[in-house]
Symmetry: C2
Subunit: 338 residues, 2 copies
DNA sequence: CTGAAAGCGCTTACAG
DNA sequence: CTGAAAGCGCTTACAG
């Protein structure tokens, strides 16, 4: 392994001078020396040792992405998360930082990782309030959360207007003549995204004089278990006398649900209307194409990284909390009922 | 920040003793000391500094995942890659290593990252031969490639039988009575996966006395540009007098293609049969459900990591190259033609 | 513009 | 079982 010292010896200068060249502090090095040293670096294929640098500078140049996922679940199987993570990694890289990705199993693992690597900042996906509190307490590096709801003050978060999403979904279904509507979601009601979508949904119903009936709420154990979801689809199909439409909190789930319903022979949207959430690509790949509440993933990723780096360069900068808009995208999965 | 020294001082022992406790070398420490030190570590919340450790041990405990993606493309938007990466990260973590993810923009970036962090090993997705050569030349850490074809000897690679996949697709279409068949793929013909699928496809046709006509080959600029792909779908629909079936090298592409075709009013599979590749979840989310060539992603991820760690623990171990099987999964997108 | 010294937090190799 | 010394490759802070 080639080190600063090797280069210095070959160039007949001190390590400091080489270090200055490597780090672009050219004001401190004579033109001739700089040129000669650069040439030697190039020829010898010198690459600085990041660990040594990190140790000396007390700064690692690493951003961590923390993915919250249920036990043994592959969070990236969810297209929403995958697209988000991919974009975030690109943005981090573009700014000259390295990315570490962690699947959160338990909280200590995460705080440990952050501290052991002396990570500069972190982006969290889908964390809950108690976890957020713990993270904030355990470390004071800049953190940005995505899609979290938290009572922690001074939290940087990028989310969407989930409540409005719920209202839009309900409003659309009502406008299409549906009065009795089911709600399907994963079990994460304990304070997150789903809860707010549900609240918006119920409030909108209420406003139209409809009260949501709790027996119309269906909770899935997980959002990446196709089989379970299809099974629920079949069950819902049997209940089509009870309601004429379903609001589902993700397109991913909606697609499996529809598959399950279909297998019983019921027609969508004729026999049952469905509205999803996210506006993933699959909405257009399905038949009928899925009506859904759209959010802008690219924007979400971009803003998260922007905020993180703003805090990195100005640690005293205020926490920023952004709420992106959502819109209804009408396609083919909701029927007008008379 | 709490350091070994702090703990040592508090415990009234040397840093070495604390270091031994931290690293579980308990044979070198008396029971009482070990217990007391552990208690202090716990209370003070000591976390070892990975950079310092990495520097001293010359070993970082990091595995890099390198994603090859076209300029400005989000590789993780491809569900195949996303699922693979997610599983790989989990397996790496389970073995007590950290994961760095890199999108490959240019080659120097990658070799630089690997060396600067003194990465222990790396997993590469979808690299081409010339790139592979360069990686192998630039670094001698254990590397495992996924889905690569290379003339480099002693390469560890985990792939699937792409050639057979091509044959299976052709055979199925022929068995269903199709004689004139189109081929759609991304532009990566320069030696990879696509080329072998194409070769298998052509050979099988040949064997049945059909020669593939080059004007029936359609190359997309990229595999994640829905608009372009849909446009091609519309074009193909116009050409339905020329061929009655299409073999597409990925389910992802097939789905957009179908969308495009559909928009012109042609029916699938009645007017045009389609067969995909990968067996992603979307195959079942679509209508008609997509007939495809299936591969086992979970297995691919698992084996890649297994091989990598085998090489990590036994650097002299031979390179392993694994070829997983593929199978035809019949669903609804291929019609029997008379 | 240049460099010698000290230090970042850990481990290796050795002496007791 | 325990510890003092040297070193990993870099940077910071200072003196010239």
């Amino acid at each position: 392994m080639v080190t600063l010292k090797d280069i210095a010896r070959e160039a007949g200068v001190s390590v400091m001078t080489v270090s200055n060249v490597v780090n672009g502090n050219l004001s401190k090095v004579s033109k001739e020396n700089a040129q000669r040293i650069r040439e030697i670096i190039e020829r010898r294929g010198y690459v600085p040792n990041a660990s040594a640098r990190s140790l000396a500078k007390n700064r690692a140049n690493i951003i961590a992405i923390i993915l919250r996922g249920a036990e043994n679940e592959n969070t990236l199987e969810n297209p929403h998360n995958a697209a988000l993570v991919g974009t975030i990694i690109q943005k981090i890289q573009k700014r000259g930082y390295y990315t570490m990705v962690n699947m959160m199993k338990c909280r200590e693992d995460i705080t440990q990782s952050l501290r052991t690597w002396n990570v500069d900042g972190a982006v969290f996906l889908g964390m809950f309030d108690d976890e957020i509190e713990e993270m904030c307490a355990a470390s004071d590096i800049p953190m940005v959360f995505i899609d979290s709801y938290s009572s922690v003050r001074q939290l940087s978060n990028v989310g969407i207007d989930d409540y409005k999403g719920g209202r839009l979904a309900a409003r659309h279904l009502i406008a299409c003549g549906h009065r009795s509507i089911a709600f399907v979601s994963p079990p994460v009601l304990r304070t997150g995204v789903v809860q707010h979508r549900f609240a918006g949904f119920c409030d909108e119903l209420e406003q139209h004089g409809i009260s949501f009936r709790s027996e119309h709420q269906f909770v899935l154990e997980s959002d990446v278990r196709p089989e379970d979801t299809m099974e629920l689809g079949r069950r819902l199909a049997q209940l089509r006398e009870k309601f004429s439409a379903v609001f589902v909190t993700s397109d991913q789930i909606a697609s499996y649900l529809i598959q399950g319903m279909r297998s019983t022979g019921i027609r969508i949207p004729d026999d049952m209307s469905i509205i999803g959430f996210d506006d993933l690509m699959i909405c257009r790949q399905m038949t009928p194409q899925l009506t859904t509440i759209a959010q802008d993933l690219e924007e979400k990723a971009r803003l998260s990284v922007d905020i993180l780096f703003r805090r990195l360069s100005a640690p005293a900068a205020p926490a920023e909390s952004l709420v992106l808009d959502v819109t209804l995208v009408e396609r083919e999965s909701v029927a007008v009922k008379r």
